[in-house]
């Protein structure tokens, strides 16, 4: 009985969740004039025109490529620096550990609007403007602290006896970390990877500030549809539908790690 209620509640939630996305899909299959003319629960003259435009125009589809490049870079950088740091925060006591941990978090707290300008100056000075790595590095500002934070939480959930037993068994720290410890927290690694991907993927202000053409991401290109002739809602909706795809694939790949959780007694 309880189980049934749970499923009905969950199904209802997923229905509500899907409605705006369905509407985006609906809009993406119609022309702008059609969208603005009348309400249609299902598109009557469904057209792929909007998608064709995106896939045939390099200035559109390169936006996805650019975004995927710097997002992948950011995710890899964030995870590889955050894993050892999170281990240090979860296992060791060292001078300034608490202060350092909280300082990292403060980097997510600044309002972006005014801070974007000095970012432009900084990255121009070091000659990285309009490169993928510039955006990837700037996104580390908010993703690395998040990654450290999430990973630290998962690592602290693992009893320290496991580390101690492994060290007694003769494991070195790097060997233990890679072969035993990371598999234990793979749920955390999966979640972290997804969150780094997600926050970097949807960030607009820094990505737009630091790119001109070569590395311009899709989220910035989409603002182009706001032009003198008004907004092309159909095209925007199609571009929006396509922005979901890479992230959905990422979560598909990490889903098992997220779901399996934790198996004790691997050492």
């Amino acid at each position: 009985m309880r189980g049934k209620k749970k499923i009905i509640g969950l199904a209802f939630y997923f229905l509500l969740l899907a409605l705006p996305i369905y509407w985006m899909l609906n809009m993406s299959l119609r022309t702008n004039a059609d969208i603005l003319a009348s309400f249609a629960l299902f598109p009557t003259d469904a057209t792929l025109k909007n998608y064709i435009k995106i896939f045939t125009d390099a200035s559109w589809y390169m936006g996805y490529v650019n975004a995927m490049i710097y997002v992948a870079m950011n995710t890899v950088i964030s995870l590889s620096v955050a894993l050892p740091a999170a281990y240090a925060f979860s296992r060791y006591q060292f001078v300034g550990d608490k202060q350092m941990f909280f300082w990292l978090l403060t980097n997510r707290m600044a309002p972006a609007a005014v801070f974007a300008l000095p970012f432009f100056q900084l990255y121009s000075t070091v000659g990285l403007m309009d490169t993928h790595i510039a955006v990837a590095l700037s996104h580390c500002l908010f993703n690395v602290p998040l990654a450290v934070w999430i990973l630290e939480g998962f690592m602290s959930g693992i009893p320290r006896e496991i580390d101690e037993t492994a060290f007694i068994d003769g494991y070195s720290l790097p060997h233990f970390f890679i072969t035993v410890f990371i598999p234990l927290i793979r749920a955390g690694v999966g979640v972290t990877a997804f969150f780094c991907f997600m926050f970097s993927w949807v960030e607009l202000l820094l990505a737009r500030t630091l790119t001109v053409t070569n590395a311009k991401p899709i989220s910035a290109i989409m603002t182009r549809t706001i032009s003198a002739t008004g907004l092309d809602y159909g095209l925007l909706a199609a571009a929006g539908m396509l922005t979901i795809v890479p992230g959905a694939l990422v979560i598909w790949f990490v889903r098992n790690h997220m779901a399996k959780g934790f198996a004790l007694g691997r050492v």
């Binding site: 509407w23 050892p84 060292f94 350092m100 309002p111 972006a112 005014v114 997804f194 949807v202």
Partner: protein, 291 residues
């Protein structure tokens, strides 16, 4: 158990420090520099000390935006945290339902924020939008977020809850899955009800991820810009002019970099202060429960 004292652990933290400091310190110093100057033209500026801070602290529009912001973030936390936990508890634990649920939950999170605002403009329009049309034909109410402040708030809250509750749910779910099966078996042997299992096993074990979810939702909702800017533009009137919207109006709309920078730093300080209080409080709650 105490952590191992060892200052060599700094070596593990160093890469993180370097990579974050690179993007953090110079922009912060630059903004502090702007905030004490009156920039008349590029390369031409006058030192004004704390004048901009005084001006901003006395700005009643900033005060109004601040109260609005507190109300907004408060509502966000009160709705999204319990809802997210509830969803995480209801999600399937094995089988195809897991993949389906996780991917579905992630969908709203993956859409760029300005696009979300734009989609919701149409979605909520009574004439051509699914939600607006649905409300009008089912309830007989013509929903109009461009004219009525309450409607604008309801629309924003719906969008916000739709957009971000999955983040809480995903984090809570990952936290739940990280609880070893043995804990549940122990609870079962003790004859614990599902409520007490939740209260004494699941909730304490989720403390870490829930702290993250709470603070992330606090920070991001307090800094929210793109979605309300696109959907309501801060209106009707000033009813949805949150801090970021007002900040952008000053800093970029009027090109007042000095006051804008002072505003940014005050804003930053408020987020910092509250995050610190919440962080400390949540840490303390956790320690209390362990005893």
């Amino acid at each position: 158990m105490e952590k191992w004292p060892d200052n060599k652990a700094w070596l593990l933290v160093l890469p993180v420090f370097v990579i974050v400091a690179f993007s953090a310190i110079i922009p912060l110093l630059t903004v502090i520099n702007y905030s004490v100057q009156d920039i008349l033209a590029p390369g031409q500026s006058v030192f004004v000390g704390t004048d901009w801070f005084k001006e901003m602290l006395q700005d009643y529009r900033l005060h109004d935006a601040l109260w609005r912001q507190f109300l907004f973030s408060g509502l966000v936390l009160v709705i999204e945290m319990p809802l997210g936990i509830l969803i995480a508890l209801a999600l399937p634990k094995r089988g195809w339902g897991v993949s389906f649920s996780l991917v579905t939950l992630a969908l709203p999170l993956l859409i760029p924020w300005n696009t979300i605002g734009t989609i919701w403009i149409i979605f909520t329009r009574p004439d051509i939008g699914l939600l607006g049309h649905g409300i009008r034909s089912l309830l007989g109410i013509t929903f109009d977020h461009t004219a009525r402040p309450l409607d604008a708030w309801i629309t924003l809250m719906m969008m916000e809850v739709w957009h971000w509750t999955p983040l809480v749910a995903l984090l809570a779910y990952a936290g739940l899955r990280a609880i070893p099966e043995a804990y549940y078996q122990a609870a079962k042997i003790d004859g614990a009800s599902s409520w007490s299992t939740f209260l004494y096993v699941q909730l304490p074990k989720m403390r870490g991820v829930l702290t993250i979810a709470f603070l992330l939702r606090f920070m991001d909702s307090f800094l929210i810009y793109a979605e309300p800017f696109v959907l309501t533009g801060g209106g009707p009137g000033n009813s949805t002019t949150f801090l970021s919207i007002y900040l952008v109006k000053i800093a970029l709309g009027q090109f007042d970099l000095g006051p804008g920078a002072a505003f940014s730093l005050i804003y930053f300080a408020i987020v910092l202060l509250f995050s610190f209080i919440f962080y400390q409080a949540l840490q303390r709650v956790g320690r209390g429960e362990k005893v």
